[in-house]
Symmetry: C2
Subunit: 204 residues, 2 copies
C-alpha cells in the first residue's frame, strides 16, 4: 500500500470520446502520482438497454451537437480521427472481451492492448471486430502472441466482460469515458480538467 | 455596431444547472467585453418531446450521477439550493411566458425578472408558477408593476414563448444551460470554462 490516488477509467472501444480520454488519462494521473486502472464498458448495454436511451448520434439535436463538440475538441488537441463518425459503429464485443480477459489473467498486458486497438480503430480507421486484427494489435502492443491468442478465443472472456460491466453499473458507471477518483464519479472527456483540479485539491 | 462578441444564453427556470449558469454568465461575458442575450427554453419540449428522452433525474444511473455532479458543483462554487431536487418540478410556463413577453416588449426588463425568478425558485425554494409570485419577483427586479401585470396576462405571451423555443431548436439548442458564441454551441454549465477559453482565444 503506497497511498497513491487511484483513478478508475472506463471506456468503450466504439466511443470516440473514450479514445480521446485514453490519450490523456495516464499523463494526467502521472502529474499527481496517481495510478490509473483501465476498465471495459459496453455503452450498448448501459446507455441503450439499462438507461433506455438512443445512441447519441441518433438523438435529435444532440447528435449534431456531439459532432460539433467532437470537432472542437479534436481541433484544440490536435487529434485526427480517421473513422467516419456517421458510419455504424463496429461490434465492440471481440475487442472488449479480449481486453477483459487480459485484464483478469495478465493485467499488465491489458492497457497496451487497449491503446493499440484504440489507435487502430480511431486514428487509423480500421474495424477491430475480428480476431486477426486483434492479434495484430496485440503484437504491436507487445503482448506475447500465445497469450493474445488465448485472449481472443478463451471461453471465459465473455463472462469476464459481463461481470466487469455489471460491476461498473453497480458503481453507477454508465458512459464512456467515465472516471472515478475514490468514489467520486466524473463522466465525459470534458471532465478531465475537473479531475485534474480534484486531484490537485484533494477533493472538496 | 460595436463589434462586441455576443453570447446567447438559453435557460429553463426548472433547470438547476441553468440557474447555476445564470449566476456566472454575465460576469464571464464582462471579462471579455461581450454581450449576453438571455433566451427562454422549455426542456419539457426539447428534451422530452423532440429528443424523446426521459427527464435526467428519472434516467437510470444518470439521475444519481447528475445529483452528485450538482452537489460537487455547488460545494465548489458556494451555492446553496433550497429546493428538494427529487420533488416534481414546478410548471415553468407562467414564468417562461412572462419572460418571453418582457423579452419581446421591454427587453431591458427581462433579465432582471429572470434573475429574480431564479433566485426565488432555487435559492429561496419558492414555487414560481402563479401570477402573484411572478408579480412579486418583477417588483423585486424593478420591473414597472403595470408592465409586469401585462407580462403575466398578455395573450401574446404564449405564442412568443413558442416562437422562441422553435427558434432555439432551429439553431440546434436543446438543453439548459445552452450557450452560443457566434454560431459555436456549448451545452452545460460545465462548459463555462471552455466558453471563457473560446472567447479569450477568439475560437480555434
Amino acid at each position: 500500500m503506497n497511498g497513491a490516488p487511484v483513478i478508475d477509467f472506463w471506456f468503450d472501444f466504439i466511443s470516440p470520446f473514450g479514445y480521446l480520454a485514453s490519450l490523456r488519462i495516464d499523463a494526467l494521473a502521472a502529474r499527481h502520482g496517481a495510478v490509473v486502472r483501465w476498465h471495459p464498458l459496453l455503452i450498448g448495454v448501459t446507455v441503450l438497454k439499462v438507461m433506455g436511451l438512443k445512441p447519441v448520434l441518433d438523438t435529435p439535436l444532440k447528435g449534431d451537437y456531439a459532432l460539433r463538440e467532437l470537432a472542437r475538441y479534436t481541433r484544440r488537441h490536435g487529434v485526427v480521427l480517421a473513422r467516419d463518425l456517421r458510419a455504424p459503429p463496429m461490434n465492440p464485443l471481440p475487442a472488449a472481451r479480449a481486453f477483459a480477459w487480459l485484464h483478469h489473467h495478465a493485467n499488465e498486458q491489458a492497457r497496451p492492448f487497449a491503446q493499440a486497438v484504440y489507435d487502430d480503430h480511431w486514428r487509423r480507421g480500421l474495424a477491430m471486430d475480428e480476431a486477426p486484427r486483434l492479434l495484430e494489435a496485440g503484437q504491436r502492443a507487445g503482448v506475447p502472441p500465445a497469450l493474445m491468442a488465448q485472449a481472443v478465443s478463451a471461453a471465459d472472456a465473455a463472462p469476464l466482460l459481463r461481470d466487469a460491466v455489471a460491476q461498473a453499473m453497480a458503481l453507477g458507471v454508465f458512459g464512456s469515458p467515465f472516471f472515478r477518483v475514490g468514489d467520486e464519479p466524473f463522466f465525459g472527456v470534458d471532465k478531465l480538467e475537473l479531475v485534474d483540479d480534484w486531484l490537485a485539491a484533494g477533493g472538496w
